[in-house]
Symmetry: C2
Subunit: 348 residues, 2 copies
Amino acid sequence: MVTIHEVATRAGVSPATVSRFLRGRSVRSSDAIQAAVDELGYWPSHAAQSLKSGRTDTIGVVVPDITNPYFAAVVKGMESVTRSERYRIFLANSDESSELEDQVLADMARRVDGIILAPVTEQNRAPLNAREASVPLVFIDRDLVEGKEFDAVLVDNADGARQAAEHLLGLGHTRIAAISGPQDTTPGRRRREGFLNALTAAGVGIAPEHDLIGDFRERSGYQLTLSLLSLPEPPTAVFTANNLMTLGALKALHDMRVDVPGQMSLIGFDDLDTGPLLRPPLTVIDRPMVEQGVLAMRLLLRRLDPQYANDMPRRVVLGTTLVERASTAPPGTSGERTASPSRARKTR
Amino acid sequence: MVTIHEVATRAGVSPATVSRFLRGRSVRSSDAIQAAVDELGYWPSHAAQSLKSGRTDTIGVVVPDITNPYFAAVVKGMESVTRSERYRIFLANSDESSELEDQVLADMARRVDGIILAPVTEQNRAPLNAREASVPLVFIDRDLVEGKEFDAVLVDNADGARQAAEHLLGLGHTRIAAISGPQDTTPGRRRREGFLNALTAAGVGIAPEHDLIGDFRERSGYQLTLSLLSLPEPPTAVFTANNLMTLGALKALHDMRVDVPGQMSLIGFDDLDTGPLLRPPLTVIDRPMVEQGVLAMRLLLRRLDPQYANDMPRRVVLGTTLVERASTAPPGTSGERTASPSRARKTR
DNA sequence: CTGAAAGCGCTTACAG
DNA sequence: CTGAAAGCGCTTACAG
């Protein structure tokens, strides 16, 4: 391993001068130093730099599932911000496990300058340790019950779910089911609340056997949809509270040869890249994804700037959009319905 | 920041003893040390540990596009291996840019113990610098022309493309198009070669205007498909060389109201989670994804073990599988074809 | 089993 | 602008 000392010797200066040159300060023998760096293939030791400076130039990002296209898009947004900065992203997956999240955060707290976190549950207190370790923390997508003092980029989950409910109600559905996410997560709880409240407000309500809780994974969407279909009186419409469960529901409906939307309307939360290409094209509640990543990273970088480090927490809450495609229709609509992509339209 | 020195003082021992305790060696005052660690909330400085030990316990992973479900699945496979080990994964995106890849690798080389790389192009020599820096390197999905001396997990791209060609030929197509990936990447070049060779061997060949090169992104699949459709004599079948371009092609065909497979058969390379749910369900060449990540990580961890560090390079080449769904049919098949998911079958 | 000491590779006030 | 020196927080042979 080439050290700064070897570069200094070769260039005939002191290590201090090489260090200054590398950090952009003007020195007399810059040509000789540059030549030595090139010839030796010198690259500074990150560990030594960060031990000395106390900075890592790295942002930790912890998401519950990197294969979820929503989080992939969010991370892409973050990268678009750090690309032009000196920061790098250290991505970790908590795999929807609080235990793993604890480990990952504890480890990260000592090797990054700041953390962006989509917590596994609202209850987990571990993220607060990050604060004790004085590592700035920004929440994305999901919140923490005790986390109101942190920056956050969230979406109006309850209102999005309300839009979904009113869309189904507007089509005339009265036997409506919901497959919600875990009730100890912000989106799981708030989307269910928003959805049920809208049904109640309309005097429709929901049967207990139609009010199901999944785990945000495809498999649970699949299995809970099967359980709905096995009911003596299945619902005529179902709301799935995230993209992966929507996919699982659609698979179950396909496998059971249920006509969508003829026998069952399906509306999901979060759009998919393939949404318009599916059979049928999915009606969904959409929200900005890449933009959320951009916003979260900007909030964090701002907080890393000593000038703003002690500002009040900023909590950004974004709105959602109903994207009407062909997976929803009035109850009892006749079978084969061919929908063209151009039917899709957005309403606020 | 709590240091090992403060823990030592509180526990009434020397920093050396605390260090030994933390590294699992048996010490006399372990209870007092554990108590001090807990009370102070001590967590070791990663920078100091790694500066001293020369190890980072971190594996760098560089992929060209994290939003591509293939790479997301691959990374998931890698995580399943590291979870039980002491290693963490440092994920970076080269965004299909060699320039960015160079930067990322140079930076990583000093902060990880090993690197798994899906290189942007076959030509880029930068990854070889990693060797100079004596950081073990494993290739995944894509190779390097000068990279034969490294471990690698690849797929038989040419054979997979041959399967695709023979499937279309078997259905009776003779006007066949290919949308290939960049010709300076292994999968781009090899898939095109395998496909064209099979067409040539069958005496069918390909018209120059049907032999198109994309960039593995959805947008190029979309645009090149539009260009095929605007031809005086469009093909009756098209092969798209990766999942995102397949999606783009399908979107273009939808938007132009082209019946698939009635007017145009479509076969892609790499399956999608939504493959069976699309309109129509996609016929694809599939390959192991999660497994590739598992294998690559195992190869790397093995090489990190001094016992095996100097073994001959291992190059794992996996086979592909044709998954027949409903997006391919004999040319000129009548319009609306309804396919049920259960039609899907795999052939080797 | 334990402690004092050296040193990993840098950076940065300090003095010139 | 420059160099000598101290020190960031750990780990580990060394001697006991």
